[in-house]
């Protein structure tokens, strides 16, 4: 059998299962701490591990199957005993999950990786004490109930037999759909769904995928169910389903065969289409080209004689409308839920907390809020970084928290919400907060500000000093998140996608980082300006205002002209000088006020050419090393125009 064509499906589905296993393990640990019931979680973990094992076995990925089998055994034992896993067990299961994820990646590359014998042995060792049957059943006493009993532990899971009421047992449910039913496969699907609400489906014949494809040979469905529900409950559930000609429930025989190639079926979530991300990007590029082509046609239209022009313009307008609609649709497909970036956070916090001896819980709200995939990809790492900061520098050690009258477990709340044309992502911790005074002193000590300038800042502005490179008030440099807080990198990443970062903090109570992100990136409005013979663009998002100004009439301060703008004096630089162009000729000029480093700056240009929606393309290759160039676009007349990154231009 040629397995290669099933490989990508296996990789995606196994990947999903493993991802969910990781998340569920973190949730399980939290629930155990809170004393909440765990059965459903352990159940789900067991079934997912079983799925991965089955999938891997049928793909002849025996290494993955072996690790999954070990995890399944451990989880199965926990399930039988209704026990909570110890933190060491969770560590081990997470390690197994990580190992399997790595192995799946290698399988995707065409390998058939073998299991790490040390890992497999460790999992078996940790699970061995649990393999003895539950203490409740009367048994000849073993060595004073010592957990590592030498007496051979019972081979788990597969050897289960019908157990007394309340304990799990296996039954085989067989139904036949009535002749009159026009869609017997759907009826079978319904039966399967109802049964899966009563326990775990170990086996279904036909399988759920065959039912979905409309196949149900002889209108008969057989399900092996592992359940704690009594027979009467199952019979009652079946009696509530119409169009069944026959229904029978029997005890399932214990099966001797170990690793099974069949996967247990569970009716999963709603179906969607999978599309490769790069295909979507290509789609978007093509739509961008369409937009530019439309503008070019418009330009050509301007050269037509008057009597032809209106018709062409009408048609071009209509075309533009359609293309914009298409663009919006493609952008909508690019919209991805924030959960893509927030899902790894609980696990990361957990790992970090364990390593630093702290206790942290992460709560995420609003995971369903959608953002452009490009934006999300850019802020995923920064988010992780912010979390590390929160856990590393924000949340205090448990004993310190208790002393401060807080709960021993620190909380980080991540929330996402829409606010008109922005998505607001907030990360708030209840740690020790940031001290504006400390930041002020640190910034001055670093040489980033003069003492006088530092004194002039409000407490709020002091917090943002944390975003200057090298400013760190960490009491000790930890190797966990590196030197300083790296907030400057986070702020830059956020601003690169057109967003903004803000900080709020109260010493002793906690810190909140607020990211305001645009919904989409690819098409942005730009302001076109002429500098000498060249036309360059500035992103409107970074422009505060523009005005026609007689430079000679401006006051100067420290040799540079200053422009009054919005209640302050803004220093004016010659853009031509910043770009290394020839100095300007005389005549009326204009000044664009844009975001500079920390404060607005004025850029003197020769003319303001207007605003335009532009499809921005990234610069690559040697151009990418020119500081100050952030993107390029093509005007309607075919002319390429560079978009400037003012802050980087000033810093260069």
């Amino acid at each position: 059998m040629d397995l290669a064509k099933y490989l990508s499906l296996f990789v995606t589905e196994a990947g999903e299962h493993l991802g969910r296993i990781g998340a569920e393990l973190v949730r399980l640990e939290q629930a155990a701490r809170a004393g909440e019931p765990l059965d459903a979680s352990v159940d789900e973990l067991f079934r997912r591990a079983h799925s991965v094992k089955g999938m891997a076995a049928s793909m002849e990925q025996d290494g993955i199957a072996e690790v999954a089998h070990g995890a399944e055994d451990l989880l199965g034992a926990l399930r039988r005993r209704s026990e909570a896993p110890s933190p060491e067990m969770v560590d081990l299961l997470l390690a197994a999950c990580d190992a399997m994820t790595g192995m799946v990646a290698r399988a995707a590359a065409g390998e058939a990786p073998t299991a790490d014998p040390a890992l497999v042995a460790r999992i078996a060792a940790v699970g061995a004490p649990l393999q003895a049957p539950p203490v409740a059943a009367p048994r000849p006493v073993e060595a004073a109930g010592a957990p590592d009993a030498a007496a051979a532990p019972v081979r788990p899971v597969e050897a289960m037999v019908a157990a007394p009421n309340g304990a799990r047992h296996r039954v085989t449910v067989t139904v036949r759909v009535a002749e009159g039913c026009p869609v017997p496969a759907v009826r079978g699907f319904l039966v399967l769904k109802k049964l899966s609400g009563l326990g775990g489906v170990v086996e279904a014949s036909p399988s759920v995928d065959e039912l979905r494809a409309g196949r149900i040979p002889e209108r008969r469905l057989r399900v092996v169910l592992e359940t704690a529900a009594p027979r009467e409950a199952i019979a009652r559930a079946l009696s509530q389903i119409a169009d069944l000609a026959e229904a029978a429930i029997a005890d399932a025989e214990p099966v001797a065969a170990p690793v099974r190639a069949r996967e247990p079926e569970k009716v999963e979530g709603a179906r969607t289409l999978r599309v490769r991300a790069d295909r979507l990007d290509h789609f978007l590029d093509l739509v961008g080209e369409l937009l530019l082509a439309t503008q070019r046609i418009r330009e050509v239209g301007k050269t037509l004689p008057d009597d032809h022009r209106p018709r062409l313009e009408d048609e071009v307008d209509r075309l533009h409308g359609t293309v914009k609609d298409l663009h919006d649709q493609v952008m909508a497909v690019r919209m991805t839920p924030v959960s893509l970036a927030t899902d790894p956070l609980p696990r990361a916090a957990r790992d970090l907390a364990r390593r630093t001896g702290k206790q942290v819980e992460v709560e995420v709200r609003g995971q369903g809020i959608e953002l452009d995939r490009g934006v999300l990809e850019e802020i995923a790492d920064p988010l992780l970084h912010l979390l590390r900061n929160a856990v590393d520098h924000g949340i205090e050690a448990p004993h310190l928290r208790l002393l401060a009258g807080k709960s021993a477990t620190g909380h980080v709340a991540v929330s996402a919400r829409r606010d008109r044309d922005r998505v607001v992502l907030e990360m708030e911790d209840d740690g020790k907060g940031m001290d504006p005074e400390k930041l002020r002193r640190a910034a001055v000590a670093r040489g980033a500000l003069t003492e006088a300038a530092a004194q002039a800042l409000t407490a709020r502005e002091c917090l943002l000093l944390a975003c200057l490179p090298g400013v760190s008030t960490a009491d000790a440099v930890t190797d966990v998140s590196g030197r300083g807080v790296g907030m400057d990198a986070v702020k830059r990443a956020v601003e690169d996608v057109g967003g903004a970062l803000d900080l709020e903090s109260t010493p002793g109570l906690g810190t909140k980082v607020i990211l305001r992100l645009p919904l989409t990136v690819a098409v942005q409005p730009v302001l076109l300006v002429r500098v000498g013979d060249e036309v360059v663009g500035l992103p409107i998002a970074k422009v505060h205002g523009a005005a026609h100004v007689d430079l000679a009439a401006l006051e100067t301060s420290r040799g540079a002209p200053v422009l009054p703008h919005d209640g302050r004096l803004v220093p004016v630089h010659e853009l031509s000088a910043l770009l290394g162009f020839a100095p300007p000729r005389g005549g009326p000029r204009a000044v664009v006020v844009a975001d500079g480093e920390g404060a607005p700056v004025g850029l003197a240009v020769d003319a303001l050419l207007g605003q335009q929606e532009a499809v921005l393309k990234p610069v690559s290759g040697p151009l990418a090393r020119v500081s100050g160039l952030s993107a390029v676009t093509v005007l309607g007349n075919g002319r390429p125009v560079f978009i400037l990154d003012v802050q980087r231009l000033l810093a260069a």
Partner: protein, 122 residues
């Protein structure tokens, strides 16, 4: 006491037909909705014992409406009303929480049988 039914379908004649079937069958029709949005609103307002749900509707599909209703009330009984060729949609609805389904062209006695069974009246 008669069980209370909410009927959801964008076609007036279907709503009328289903209403006639249920009234004759001893049920009390307490409300109607013509699309998924209305369906969810009316469900929350009326809390019927049973909801019949068309699949393809404007503004919000029957599948989405079922999902929201079951999320709000896990004990909700929603019966999907489908036609041939919509099998995958019905299965999606089942995954979203639908309790059962009927397929057009149905006979009144078939509909009532399905509904009585799913409500546990044998």
């Amino acid at each position: 006491m008669a069980k209370r039914v909410l009927i959801v379908d964008d076609a007036v004649f279907m709503r009328n037909m289903i209403r006639d079937i249920f009234s004759a069958g001893g049920f009390e029709v307490v409300g109607e909705a013509a699309n998924g949005l209305e369906a969810v609103e009316k469900y929350k307002e009326l809390r019927p014992d049973l909801t019949t749900m068309d699949i393809v509707m404007p503004f919000k599909s029957g599948i989405e409406a079922t999902r929201e209703i079951v999320r709000a009330d896990p004990a909700a009984v929603v019966v999907m009303c489908s036609a041939l060729g919509q099998e995958s949609l019905v299965m999606e609805a089942i995954e979203a929480g639908a309790s059962d389904f009927v397929v057009k062209p149905f006979k009144p006695e078939d509909v009532l049988a399905v509904v009585r069974k799913v409500l546990g009246e044998g």
